[in-house]
């Protein structure tokens, strides 16, 4: 029996809204981009008004935005995955998505697909770490 790590009640995706009329950029529901140009990290951030984690209730289809930040505060989105070892580890293991993380200059907000929301303050050490996508 495969025991889920978290019970998936929601699909999750990232969303970037612009203040200059640029069309909203959206990620895929609970799925990584297939190529670099579709990754959030390669979308432009000038003129960014807000960054959101959008969630869709798997039962009702209702979409909500439980997590957002101002554009000037946005750093990046991260997928959170878990990979089992002990079964089917023939070659590389691509785990299953359990959460989407919104990273701001000061905080990380993690929305798990079971509906749990966790916020963490970025440590001084963490703030020194530069992600390649934006160099910040």
């Amino acid at each position: 029996m495969k025991v889920p790590f978290v019970l998936p009640k929601y699909d999750v995706r990232w969303r970037l809204d612009y203040r200059d009329g640029t069309k909203t950029k959206l990620g895929f529901w609970t799925r990584e981009a297939d190529n670099l140009k579709d990754m959030a990290t390669f979308k432009r951030t000038d003129g960014l008004a807000k960054a959101f984690i959008e969630v869709k209730d798997k039962e009702t289809g209702v979409i909500a935005t439980p997590v957002h930040c101002a554009g000037h505060d946005f750093c990046l989105f991260k997928w959170r995955k878990v990979a089992r070892i002990g079964l089917g580890t023939k070659g590389k293991v691509s785990g299953e998505i359990v959460a989407l993380v919104l990273v701001t200059r000061t905080m990380e907000a993690t929305f798990y697909v079971d509906g749990t929301l966790r916020t963490d303050i970025r440590t001084d050490e963490e703030k020194k770490f530069h992600y390649e996508g934006y160099g910040r």
Binding site: M39, I85, L87, G91
Partner: protein
Amino acid sequence: MTVSILISETMAGAAFNDSLAGGSSGIDWGQASNGGYTPLTSQAANTGKKSLWVKHDATVDPTTDNKVFIQQYSGTYGGADSAANDFTTFKNKGYASNSSTSNNTDGLYSGLVVEMDYDISVASQFDPARIGTQVFIFGDGVGSPQDGIDLTSAFPIITDSMVFNNGGSPVLATTPVAGKIGKSGDTVLGDNSASYWRFYLESAAITGGIMQTDLVWAYSFTA
């Protein structure tokens, strides 16, 4: 982009693919005797261990928030009891572990244990004095009621396990950061996490037979 991880016994080796009881594949930890551990070479010399090398194929950023924990076995169960009971047994053995000797000569070491200090001396490997800092027992109660048994209580991968693959030779990462594994070729963070593993069996263990569990690696990567 999808980011996959590869877990192997050597730095450049293929992924684990041992045949397991029940028909699934993964990591075969071997057989432990009472008051010993597995894999075991020489108990007196504190030798014998399973090495796990973890790397990934991300091309944009390092992976972050790397953590490890155990869960109920999800393969086709081939053990002596049940997957659920085995998971409980793993947790209970970790919780009961109370040894003061790395090689279990006091017979009180029990459970699945990971040593995250890559360049620690052989004599000091799995030293119970470093439990909670560099040595971690799945199911113990050091940091919370029971550690390393779910996503919440997972053990973060520490800086002492970060290694750079320098043309086939492992070199310590120059400025590693806890939980972060660099892209291939990253000398600063290191592009591999290297750790050592044992399953200890206490002297007083009564029930024998094959036990099975899932080892779970959690990680984050740029979306």
